[in-house]
Amino acid sequence: MSRLRVLVVGAGVVGASLARVLSRYENFEVTLVEKEPDVGWGVSKANTSIIHPCHEEDPSQHPLRARLCLEGNRAWRRWVRELDIPSTWPGEIIVYTTPEEEREALKYVKLAEANGVEGVRAIDKNELKTLEPSVSPEAVGGVYAPTAGLISPFEAVVAIVENAVDNGVRLLVETEVLDVKTRGGRVVGVETNRGFLEADLVVNAAGLQADSISHKAGVERDFYITPRKGQYVLFDEDVPVKPGKILHTTPTPKTKGLYAIVTVHGNLMLGPTAEDLPRDAREDFSTTAEGVDSILREARRLLREVPGRDRIIRVFAGLRPEPPGGAWLIKAYQEPWGFVNAAGIRSPGLTAAPAIAEYILSLISREYDVKLVEKKGWRPFRRGITRIKGRSMEEVDELVRSNPDYGEVVCYCKMVSKAEVLEAIERMRKIGVKTITLDGLKFRTYVGFGKCQGSFCRPRIAGIVSEAVGVPLKDVVVKKAAYGVGDVKSLWRGGV
């Protein structure tokens, strides 16, 4: 059988999920292309991390979103097990504080029925207080949806990509698609900053750049993405009040509302804001005092106690790729033959990702007449990095005896051992990451995610990278730039 060469543009959660799904079949030779040095650095890295129950999706307005959301919610339960992705399934409560909000919130009970979401029901003030003791006294009731979950989105992307690569997918990082090439009405490949890559099928999962990629292929010239910024505030694990369930304010037509969650790592997180940016502001990840203020203010409607500003350990912003009218553009084209769009994947994109991948597979199979043949020996499982934190001391002792690097704790805030850092470096290399960045390590091992935010451990971690990779300490890359600009005497010697 001649295999179809599939090039997936963008190693975010959608692109990675698709690569994994395609890797199950003999029919495809998959290359996943990513412009950043590592996977999941775009939209997938900075979002609310929620696997939505999907009772907020209106099937009459967005039938595809509603359906794939629900399928995705179900699929993640299997994926997190197969791929060893940290997750929690606390359920979610839409909290209302006024009669108008109550009316809005109750609509979601009806939508839940329409969508087939299980267990969604209205709860009164008493039941709300019992279900969620941390809730704000302003709350007068809520809508409870038990099937909501939380994952670690960047770990999820890493896990999916590791599994995809294990099953034959090739990852090319630091590779930016500059143009989509067609000949005779068919896709022939893409032009990148690293040369031309041949392909029979090109799937556009390029997140914030998806409109531009689509235009390069000559389709959907009126389709434009509006970057919608969402700022988040992250606190440390030891704040006095942490919600057991996902809490959120009643959604408005514009935004899904503000959330209060406890991440899978135990941190209280509040957000997002919803700020539409000018179309060309695709790289504006700046946080603002106003954004933080509005988050802390809104949060009082959710939590009975919001921690003070000085308990903030991180403020960050993500950009959501808002499509016109909120409709996902998922389509396999005949002209040019072989080009597939998965564009404008706004919320519930993370939730639906595994289902979007299956859907695209079905589109490819149908539109391009591919008779799918399952790969024998496809490996569904992937184990995460072995961590010492959370294990019994007896287990840690055994691990150390097998490898002394487990006994050297290099990040005390998060109790991460040298062995974990080295394993993360190895895994990065294995999937094809060329530049080992401290950020990439942070996402895989949590070094620098704690109270000190890396101020104490960064030199040590960078030292480990320096030694393992063979670059001088000053040249270790943090995120996009080197840790140091030169030797301490470089300005004296004039050779910076």
Binding site: D487, V488, K489, W492, R493
Partner: protein
């Protein structure tokens, strides 16, 4: 003609604010909590001195740098000369504290302020 200069004494962390009266031929100091302050004020007004510290590259040591300092304070104008002399200096481990790294720079020696042991394997 009197001129009053206000200085912060740097002889110890008490950091007394000194008021120095430069009066024709003489000098009067107020605000000091100990005699060192008077000495410092005099020096600072007539010929300010500073100790200069930096690091130099250490070869084959358990750390890549050796910290050094001028044994005695040097005239303020000399700070840059000291730094210039240190710019391309490299030392070979091991080095003991107090070891002389460079002799006679601006009237004093530059000495090691860290113990750098020879590394087990070359660094």
């Amino acid at each position: 003609m009197t001129a009053v200069r206000e200085l912060v004494c740097i002889m110890c962390p008490a950091s007394c604010t000194l008021r120095v009266n430069v009066n024709g031929g003489g000098l009067r100091v107020e605000g000091n909590r100990c005699p060192r302050g008077v000495e410092y004020a005099r020096q600072e007004v007539v010929k300010p001195l500073r100790r200069v510290m930096s690091v130099v590259k250490a070869r084959n040591g358990d750390l890549p740098t050796l910290s050094v300092i001028t044994r005695d304070p040097v005239p303020k104008e000399c700070i840059w000369l000291v730094m210039e002399k240190l710019a391309s200096l490299e030392v070979e481990a091991p080095v003991e504290i107090g070891g002389v790294i460079l002799r006679d720079v601006c009237g004093t020696d530059i000495v090691a302020t860290r113990r750098v042991r020879r590394a087990a394997t070359s660094v």
